[in-house]
């Protein structure tokens, strides 16, 4: 397995495309996270809140995105992870997770990360600071 240290500034990690968002994904995340806000699981509640349908927890997408880095946890760890939620994720959306190396300072690798939907719209973006041991 290649290490992150071989990556050049401007290069990206291999993208991950998720399966279409399903209701069971969100029910599972609600249970695992304890976030039972009904706009994520119950159609009527989402509609009452003015949404066209249930939407994914922002933290579900943020949690998914971290797996771009999981293969490298023997080399280092995520020291900082910051995200701005830019758009909603609906049922059946196909989300792609991306990370590009922006800067290297000593043993710290700064990545720009984003998640985009099937229309190319950004649903979240932010930064990961990976601290290499």
């Amino acid at each position: 397995m290649s290490t992150l240290m071989q990556l050049q500034v401007g290069e990206s990690l291999k993208e991950i495309q998720l399966d279409p968002v399903s209701r069971i994904d969100l029910i599972k995340y609600a249970g695992a996270s304890g976030d039972f806000n009904p706009i994520h699981t119950i159609d009527e509640e989402a509609k009452t809140a003015g949404l066209p349908g249930i939407i994914a927890h922002g933290m579900w997408t943020m949690g998914n995105l971290a797996k771009l880095f999981t293969p490298y946890f023997e080399d280092g760890f995520i020291q900082d992870y910051s995200i701005r939620f830019k758009g909603m994720v609906f049922l059946n959306d196909v989300i792609t997770l991306k990370a590009t190396l922006k800067e290297v300072v000593d043993n710290k690798l700064c990545f720009q990360v984003q998640a985009v939907n099937q229309n190319g719209n950004e649903v979240l973006k932010g930064e990961v600071l990976f601290n290499q041991f």
Binding site: L18, D25, K28, Y29, G31, A32, S33, G34, D35, N37, P38, I39, E45, A49, H57, G58, M59, W60, M62, G63, N64, A66, K67, T70, P71, F73, E74, F77, I78, Q79, D80, Y81, S82, I83, R84, F85, F133
Partner: protein, 149 residues
């Protein structure tokens, strides 16, 4: 209405990085790396144990901030950060608490939007902060009207 809560802090609550909870969480975010739940892989790793995914602290109990009454509905999660000294290790205990960091309002497309920034912490038994996180919660004008009633 949230201005008077700025600086207020919750009581510290003991949380355990539970093995089963970590596994369920890893499954829920589709991150099936064995470092999270295979005991042998954990033992042989540099952490000598399994670790938790970086967004796992979302599952912790941070106690109650007196006077802060956030509704269950109508809140938008705007931003989220995590800062780590090291990854969380399965089985460890952390004392967790939150503080209202700031509150401000801005004019937006949907009227005056309120922005509440909560900072949360997890300390080990010796009082070292192992992780901190901030959540920015966006509160619409409509929701705030309901709250002041």
């Amino acid at each position: 209405m949230f201005n008077e809560t700025v600086g207020k802090r919750s009581n510290k609550v003991k949380n355990v990085v539970e093995r089963g909870a970590v596994k369920k969480f890893a499954e829920a975010i589709g991150d099936l790396h064995p470092i999270y739940f295979d005991e042998e892989v954990g033992r042989n790793s540099r952490y000598q144990n399994n670790i938790a995914p970086p967004t796992f602290p979302r599952t912790f109990d941070y106690g109650v901030i007196e006077g802060l009454n956030l509704p269950n509905k109508g809140l938008i999660h705007g931003e989220q950060t995590f800062h780590y000294k090291r990854p969380l290790v399965v089985g460890e205990e952390l004392l967790c608490y939150s503080e209202v960091k700031k509150y401000f309002e801005k004019k937006g497309n949907f009227g005056d939007m309120g922005f509440l920034v909560l900072e949360s912490f997890g300390e080990d038994a010796a009082g070292n902060v192992i992780f901190s996180s901030t959540s920015t919660v966006v509160i619409s004008e409509a929701v705030r009207k309901v709250l002041t009633k």
